[in-house]
């Protein structure tokens, strides 16, 4: 990477050498170095584009390959949770067509409510995959849609590097651009969301984000409507792909606003932003899921405010030319103080209340959001883990940018500052920070290399010159010997250090990718002492059992984490899933899991549950199982049903959460506990531990004699990781005498929202959660 980046500066160097020559003592153009080559390559322009092309291609290749760990270790498989939903939707799209997809009402989710999928997803991802699949099939390249989905994110990572290159080139120079492209191709912060199989919105959205920013910078630079429209189209793609588009629609107005404050208003800016705002607004409203949000919700208001401000500012500028100084001053004070005051306060107000991420602070106490691990605040460790050396160098890049400020560098500075802030709020938003860190670090590295390697070249170049210069070279060599040597050593050391840092960065990236981000989490692997591998395929075993051996319309109750996987792999109806739009429904499932069996049976009967699926890691020591998540279920249930469920009941008097004999009786008799440990008490895993020893929690379970009355074990996977219980139908009742009876209305457990008739699919407070960001 390091050597490459100097090449783009070739021309620059050539001319600066000439400038350094004194009184006709100019050296022959350093381009003489390439004089021996023939054809187009004699021209540095040719070299430059060839090198850039090669480097970008290699960056793409490296980025693509380093995302394939999971495919090579396991198989071409969709990972984790959300990607399964995306895959299922894409599959639906390719089999039923675009309009069917837009109108898709999924009756297999959120039983009995269902979900309007077409109107509650960002369709960009599915459409992209579907389109690629369609084109490939049109060309008679028969690829399964699954493979398209699996490899989409790695392919798009290449596009991300190219757009990062373009953006950085606009901000700084080509060398920095190439470095940035290489950084973003392998940086773990981005790989974490774009490995092969991670078929998620973020995989394509980061490309759209970077490309939109590039086009924005371009349109601000040129002031051309063409670039502004291109920017809008890219923004449209971003809106269709990811809820993170609000980041763009807030950052660009912020950029404009700050430029105005810095007295950097220009006609170019006016054209760019006016076009972008209007066309972008109209385009973004075409996405069914977004709809009228851009003109209604607070997070879009900053953009509108800045638009108005910009118009007012431009109008004032216009008046300035036509009014006398006196008139203008009066008008100015009146108008500006009024308009600016209004706009400023609106913007301030909106920035503080309307920023999407501020929801997080307001809502962080809501259990269902807090329960998602990626919504936790970021630790310093994860900054280093995801960005390694870049996290240290990017402030330097920011400093360089601020030192040589211009319109677009204002933008990148704002981008950096806001992204750092958001990344600090939650782990998940590391993703938006990563690209800007790559760009700024690239600028920092590029500057250092330019300084030291550039000097180097000046000294090293002469030997390549024509023989006619030999004497002169000797002279100048003698003249500068002493001073040169010291400088040369310093620059050698600096260069070496930098290269070492970059090397370590590359090693770290590969290591992190391989160890932390390449597990499909659907398939687990364990290693024996001799290094051979065991694959634990329990999830698919159980899901496939459900798919093959239960009624097609069977309803499966599980914790919401597994909703998408059950829908995708088992193809069965679920009650709740990772969409989490309806808290009360989730709370109801949580309540069923945390109640005793007969109370749970009532809930399950009212929800027509046929099977209950739980994850139990006690046999193999899998820590992400339902007992470990259980307290969240209790908390969420308590939020909606405080009279029936109390978190404190599940703790020992000492305030501990224990599954052994000392555990609270409520816990030891709740449905989740019973289902997890049913017949586990008889099981002796090895000779050192007593029967019923839970390996995950390292405790002997407290309730070994578990009997189920309303449920029966329907299936348990090989390593007990997934356990499925069948809800027994009620026994036939005694024959009734034929007297007329009065039936009393039975209390049904349905969600509050339903009863209130206010079931809003894009409901207020959870809207953003639904894979939104």
């Amino acid at each position: 990477m390091a050597e490459h980046h100097t090449a783009p500066d070739y021309k620059h160097k050539a001319s600066s050498n000439a400038a350094g020559a004194l009184s006709g003592n100019g050296r022959a153009g350093s381009s003489g170095g390439s004089g021996g080559l023939s054809g187009g390559l004699t021209q540095p322009a040719g070299w430059q584009s060839l090198l850039s092309f090669t480097i970008l291609f290699l960056a793409w290749l490296a980025g693509f390959s380093s995302r394939l760990f999971a495919v090579i270790r396991f198989e071409s498989i969709i990972h984790e949770f959300d990607p399964w939903f995306n895959y299922r939707s894409t599959h639906h799209l390719t089999t039923n067509g675009f309009y069917e997809f837009l109108n898709w009402f999924d009756e297999r989710a959120w039983y009995p409510l269902g979900r309007i999928v077409g109107g509650t997803v960002y369709p960009g991802l599915m459409l992209t995959a579907g389109l690629i699949h369609y084109v490939l099939n049109l060309l008679n390249v028969t690829v399964h849609i699954r493979d398209v989905c699996v490899f989409l994110a790695p392919v798009f990572s290449g596009l991300t590097s190219i757009s990062t290159f373009l953006l950085t080139r606009e901000l700084w120079n080509q060398g920095a651009g190439l470095l940035a492209a290489c950084f973003i191709a392998i940086v773990p912060g981005y790989i974490s969301r774009s490995v092969a199989g991670s078929f998620d919105n973020e995989g394509i959205a980061i490309f759209a984000l970077q490309f939109t920013y590039y086009l924005w910078v371009k349109s601000v630079k040129t002031g051309s409507v063409f670039w502004a429209i291109a920017c809008c189209l890219s923004y449209f793609y971003m809106v269709s792909a990811w809820g993170g588009y609000v980041f763009i629609i807030n950052l660009i107005p912020l950029h404009v606003f700050v430029l105005l404050l810095m007295q950097r208003f220009s006609r170019r800016l006016y054209i760019a932003y006016s076009t972008f705002y209007i066309v972008g607004l109209v385009l973004s409203m075409q996405i069914p899921f977004v709809g009228f949000q851009p003109i209604r919700t607070s997070e879009h208001m900053a953009a509108a405010g800045v638009f108005a401000l910009l118009q007012a500012y431009a109008f004032l500028q216009y008046l300035k030319d036509r009014l006398t100084r006196q008139e203008f001053q009066t008008l100015f004070f009146l108008g500006v103080s009024l308009a600016a005051g209004v706009v400023f306060f609106t913007v301030i107000y909106l920035t503080y209340t309307g920023e999407p991420y501020h929801h997080l602070y307001a809502k962080i106490h809501i259990p269902i959001i807090a329960s998602v691990s990626e919504h936790q605040p970021t630790t310093w460790v994860s900054f280093f883990f995801d960005l390694h050396i870049l996290v240290c160098t990017f402030p330097a890049g920011l400093w360089f940018c601020i030192k040589n400020i211009n319109d677009e560098r204002v933008f990148v500075a704002l981008y950096a500052i806001s992204a750092v802030y958001f990344a600090g709020v939650m782990v998940r938003l590391m993703l938006t920070l990563t690209p800007v860190v790559c760009m700024l670090s690239a600028i920092a590295f590029s500057n250092v290399f330019e300084h030291y390697l550039g000097d180097d070249m000046k000294r090293e170049k002469p030997p390549a010159e024509d023989s006619s210069d030999e004497d002169d070279k000797r002279n100048s060599g003698n003249l500068y010997d002493k001073a040169g040597k010291v400088r040369k050593h310093v620059s050698d050391i600096v260069t070496m250090l930098m290269l070492m840092l970059l090397m370590m960065f590359a090693v770290h990236c590969t290591w992190v990718t391989s160890n932390a981000y390449s597990s499909p989490s659907v398939v687990l692997a364990s290693y024996n002492h001799d290094g051979s591998r065991n694959i634990l395929d329990d999830f698919r075993e159980a899901y496939y059992w459900l798919r093959q051996n239960t009624d097609e319309h069977a309803r499966v109750m599980s914790w919401w984490d597994y909703g998408y996987q059950i829908a995708g792999m088992a193809n069965r109806t679920t009650l709740v899933d990772n969409n989490t739009w309806n808290n009360s429904h989730i709370a109801l499932v949580g309540k069923a899991m945390s109640s005793n069996e007969s109370a749970a049976y009532e809930i399950m009967k009212s929800l027509d549950v046929d099977y209950v699926l739980i994850i139990f890691g006690g046999v193999i020591g899998y820590s992400g199982d339902d007992i470990n998540k259980f307290l969240w279920m209790v908390r969420i249930a308590e939020g909606e049903h405080p009279k029936d469920i109390r978190e404190s009941d599940y703790f020992t008097p000492q305030g501990e959460f224990r599954v052994d004999k000392a555990g609270s009786p409520t816990l030891l008799n709740c449905l989740m506990y019973k289902m997890s440990y049913y017949r586990f008490g008889e099981m002796q895993l090895d000779f050192r531990t007593p029967p019923g020893f839970d390996r995950t929690r390292n405790a002997e379970i407290g309730n070994k004699d578990i009997r189920l009355k309303h449920l029966e074990e329907a299936f348990t996977s090989e390593h007990w990781l997934v356990r499925i219980y069948r809800v027994k139908k009620e026994d036939n009742r005694q024959g009734l005498d034929h007297k007329p009876r009065n039936l009393s209305q039975k209390q049904k457990y349905i969600s509050k929202k339903l009863m209130g008739g206010k079931c809003a699919p894009r409901g207020a407070w959870l809207a953003w959660r639904r894979g939104a960001l």
Partner: protein
Amino acid sequence: MLRLSVPAYVALLGGFLACAAAAGGGLVNEEVKRTVDLTTHLAKITAEILLANEGDAAAHSFTVGLEAELAPHLAYIGAAPFPTHITQAERQLVVFQGNHYLYSPYLTRIQSSRVRLASKNVETYTKLGNPSKNDEMIEYGPFRDVAPFTQDVMKIHYENNTPFLTISSITRTIEVSHWGNIAVEETIDLRHTGADLKGPFSRYDYQRQSDSGISSIKSFKTILPASAQDVYYRDEIGNISTSHLQVLEDSVEVEVRPRFPLFGGWKTHYLIGYNLPSYEYLYALGDQYALKMRLLDHVYDDQVIDLLTVKIVLPEGTFTWTRLIVATKRNLVEQHIQDMVVHYTFNKILMLQEPLLVVGAFYILFFTVIIYDPAAEVRMKVASITEQVLTLVNKRLGLYRHMDEVVNRYKQSRDSGALNSGRKALETSHRALTNDINSLQVRLKAEGSDLAEKVAELQKLDGQVKDLACRSCQEAERLVVGKVKKEAYIENEKGLTGRRLELVSRIDGLLDAL
């Protein structure tokens, strides 16, 4: 009950040959030995018949009888589980219903039947003619002089834990490529057709007790052709990681383990696919091709198939009414693993179609790139010309330095001849360089670049530099000749150098802007 496929037929034929001398119309079964093999879920009945012709005319054929109720199950009939639902701990019992006698249009003189069972445990069996039972064998008969078409129900209720596995449907797709590969993919729907599992499935019992779920199916072996490569075994949700592949000398053995053990009534679905080299199966004579492959291949021992669909995809450009040949057949067993031959005509030239398409596509792509974007072309040209200008100007600046050297040398050696020749040589190359730059400037102008003006200014500045250089040369001459004093010369030279420096830096500035 009756498996009238190859083995049964062979047995009959053998019997016929044994009494080839017999002639006439009145055929009689002299002696019949039946074996009813009930060890698997497939009842295999073989009958060894000694046939006699008691009539006068020669018999050229004889008739094999088949019970009317068996006709729909011509290929096979299995034993039915009874009870139909069992728990995990229970053993599977099945009932076999058949005929005690050989169903034949002829009189049978003497007949005996031997029934082989899967286990010793027999609940009940019909006691016609006081059969003898020892261990896993029941022997009926001998019966004498059985009238034609005699039927008498034989019913045996016994334990049979062998896997009752049925392929409810199999789709075998064979895709032929003339590039040397035949891809075979089988989509299989499997079902355990034994007694349905009643009540819960307990993994604990299944793991801890060896006889728990004894009739369930854990795995089975599929034998693929020896040349099979790239075998995959998967389903809708991905690779099934529980399989093992063993390459033997004459076959490839796949241990197919479904994702979960199959209990009674449970089903599963999977794909198994592999590639075969086409030279083993594809024969060609000119444009005539013949594909000779198995219609059906081995899935597991004693396989029972309800419905087979074979799809053969021939290469694009084949002269038939269709590229896709589909055949279906119901009720198949292992004996149906037989070869089929598909003849078709294919023009070899058409093999080039695909590579040519790819080449063509890339050609068009590159060609458009070359033709399109004229702006980039101009930009590149201008850039290259600018580079050349840069090089030339730098070279020309280098000439002045040489000039200085020549002058310095002259000042020491006072050799005016050397000075003149050096000056001449330099002037020639200077003129050449200037001309080159001029022509480049013209080209720049032709490309419509505004850089041409800058180059023009460059030339103008250079002219001034040259004048200065010439003047300092003359001054040096004058110094050597003694027309000027050294101090004056030095002062003069200083001024000249200063102006030159200034000019050169202006030139550099221009070059930077280029």
